[in-house]
């Protein structure tokens, strides 16, 4: 049995590895939650890459229906074809469009399925998928056909906590909450993304970054993906490491902070705090 241990571009902590491996071994869905930007969606891609399995992605919108992941009956085309007298109208199978789960069920090798941001959908959405995720099979009423997974796919579900998920659904999943990485993990993450990055710059950037996260009252705290973007900018601009010293009262605000603070009010708040600390010193 293959085990997931992270990849060359994705750092997985021990508890995350445990959760993924449990989900793979027991062939049950894994529900992943966590702050935005901590790599929830990336996880599925990286697991698929590490284990060399095909990945099927299903991105959920507020209007998404569970049925769409299984199949859709394109009644409108059929109606149109019937008006035009098309011969294929007689076979209903011509109008059954396969969804993501069906495709994954048919895969020759065990697949990875990503159901991204399940909390965006209607509150009933997870309930409608209970049987499908449990038994990995469903019934196509139009063609009287039972679709069953050849190999149970590993389903990775992400949620941003916008809605509570039903208990019955949760009971069928493994659960993992991706915590915000600590400094050590963070420097490993930066390492795999920007291997050549100057050590000094990373250290200074991390201090500034965790400093900003400590600022009370920020609406949106900068996350890992924002730190990586910021580093990319800093590298592109070739900023000397010592310019990042926020402790130095005379340097007003870290350069290119727009990558870290995404909210006008946050930037104002941040500037105000720096101004105040300058007055104090």
């Amino acid at each position: 049995m293959s085990r997931f241990t992270g990849t060359d571009s994705y750092i997985a902590t021990d508890d995350l590895m445990m959760a993924v491996n449990a989900a793979i071994t027991l062939e049950r869905p894994l529900l992943v939650k966590g702050e935005p930007g901590t790599g929830k969606t990336m996880l599925a891609e990286e697991v698929a890459r590490a284990l060399d399995r095909p990945l099927f992605q299903w991105h959920i919108k507020s209007t998404a229906k569970a049925q769409q992941g299984l199949y859709e009956y394109d009644a409108v085309s059929r109606l149109r074809d019937s008006q035009l007298g098309d011969a294929k109208v007689h076979n209903i199978a011509n109008y059954i469009v396969r969804g993501v789960l069906w495709q994954a069920f048919e895969s020759e090798v065990p697949a990875i399925v990503l159901i991204d941001e399940i909390d965006k959908a209607d509150i009933e959405f997870p309930n409608d998928l209970l049987r499908e995720l449990d038994r990995m099979e469903f019934y196509v009423y139009e063609t009287q056909q039972l679709v069953r997974a050849a190999h149970r796919p590993t389903v990775i579900i992400t949620s941003n906590n916008e809605k509570e998920l039903p208990d019955a659904f949760l009971r069928r999943c493994f659960f993992h909450y991706i915590r915000f990485p600590d400094k050590e993990t963070m420097s490993r993450i930066i390492d795999v993304h920007y291997p050549g990055i100057k050590r000094e710059l990373v250290r200074e950037a991390m201090e500034a970054f965790f400093g900003i996260r400590e600022v009370p009252g920020l609406k949106k705290k900068p996350s890992t993906s924002e730190l990586l973007d910021w580093l990319k900018l800093l590298l592109a601009e070739d900023i000397p490491p010592d310019a990042l010293h926020t402790r130095d009262a005379h340097k007003v605000i870290p350069p290119l902070h727009g990558a870290l603070l995404k909210n006008e009010q946050d930037v104002h708040l941040f500037e105000k705090l720096i101004f105040m600390s300058r007055r104090k010193s």
Binding site: D15, L30, K33, N161, E162, R171, R179
Partner: protein
């Protein structure tokens, strides 16, 4: 034998079900985790706990269960050395083996271990934690933990694992005490109600087919409005005076609420609702709005949320002229009643700890006026308040 663990979790209020427990057993059987208490901690968590708000309870239960295990004496002494050695050879990496050698070899290590255990017996049975956790783990069936051999090393993984649950890093996610913006959002989202309003922009297939059939087979396309969040909220916030302690909490609630609804109107008041409210707290003396106007402006489908500690003299509620700031011609209770007559859905969220409520007469009065719909500003309280609102 993990049954006690299961019931310890229950006791600490982690919602675990039998099905999930069976999954854990199955996972252990398939060797997803073995011979490491670290791994077991993570595996059991991923199997049994389905929301980060329960992580803290899980940590405490785990800590208690494994501390209780300390009381079992002398289990290690009964484990045959040969077996330990074989386990270690199987699971220790070459590096770790080299480390053992550098510490004086296997025999020396075992000797140290025995000495430590004897010391522990000699002292109180509680012993120091790292011996107990490492040495007397009941997980014999899943392999004795080879880390146990590395007693006395600073970087023992065992110690690290103990730290994980003893550190209680998930405390902030527990729903009964702390409240932060993230938590409030979850609760406020209960207010979301899907209603079909607005422009028709989605094909109504059923209706189209029906109409087409009725239309002798010629296409007659019918549209319905897409659903969107239609919860409307009228928010009243108490500022100043005794509320100053709670202002930060209220502002968090307020900023969370603001992004949540399409229709959110907010007004400020001081201590209690009277004939005037205001929108901008800095200009409260000049720009006041008649409460009547507010009631006339917003339809009765709005949901009413008051945030205030309702801690004041009872006269400020029940008597005309009772207000501390001005002479009010009509009592505050009259105004509140008027509001409640219009808006069927209303709650009062009180930042005061619920345990203190009964000691303030004004809180009791307000609660009565609200028909009991007063909730504490905790996640749980908010949750109940929002549930009440969406009924």
């Amino acid at each position: 034998m993990l049954i006690d663990f299961f019931f310890t979790l229950k006791e600490f209020g982690v919602p675990v079900s039998i099905k999930e427990f069976l999954v854990l057993i199955e996972a252990l059987k398939k060797h997803v985790a073995y011979c490491s208490i670290d791994d077991f901690y993570f595996l059991a968590r991923t199997c049994l706990v389905k929301d980060e708000k329960h992580f803290d309870k899980y940590d405490r239960a785990f800590g208690k269960y494994f501390k209780g295990v300390l009381a079992i004496d002398g289990v290690v002494a009964q484990i045959p050395e040969e077996w330990l050695r074989r386990m270690a050879e199987k699971y220790l990496t070459d590096e770790e083996k080299a480390l053992i050698e550098s510490l004086g070899g296997w025999e020396k290590l075992m000797e140290t271990l025995r000495k430590r255990l004897e010391e522990q017996k000699g002292r109180h049975q509680g012993g120091s934690k790292w011996i107990g956790t490492a040495g007397t783990s009941p997980f014999g069936a899943y392999g004795y933990n080879p880390e146990g051999i590395r007693i006395g090393q600073q970087e023992s993984r065992n110690r690290r694992a103990v730290k994980v649950w003893d550190a209680r890093e998930y405390k902030n996610y527990d729903d009964s005490i702390e409240i932060g913006i993230r938590n409030i959002k979850v609760a406020l989202r209960r207010l979301r109600k899907f209603a079909r309003e607005g422009a028709p922009d989605e094909l109504d297939l059923d209706d189209t087919i029906r109409s087409t059939a009725r239309n002798a087979g010629w296409l007659d396309i019918k549209m319905v409005p897409e659903r969107h969040n239609a919860a409307k909220v009228l928010l009243f916030l108490d500022v100043g005076g005794s509320m100053d302690d709670h202002i930060k909490l209220c502002e968090e609630l307020f900023s969370a609420a603001r992004t949540e609804f399409k229709h959110l109107e907010y007004y400020y008041f001081h201590n209690f609702l009277y004939e005037r409210v205001w929108k901008d707290n800095r200009r409260r003396s000049t720009e006041k709005i008649a409460t009547w106007d507010v009631m006339h402006k917003y339809g009765q489908d709005y949901k009413l949320v008051f945030v205030g500690d309702a801690t004041m003299s009872p006269y400020e509620i029940t008597y005309p002229g009772g207000s501390v700031e001005h002479t009010n011609p009509e009592a505050g209770s009259v105004w509140l009643q008027r509001m409640l007559d219009i808006y069927e859905h209303a709650v009062w969220i009180n930042p005061q700890p619920e345990a203190h409520w009964e000691y303030h007469e004004s809180i009791e009065i307000t609660k009565q006026l609200m028909g009991g719909r007063m909730y504490a500003l905790t996640l749980d309280g908010l949750d109940r308040a929002m549930r009440k609102l969406s009924k």
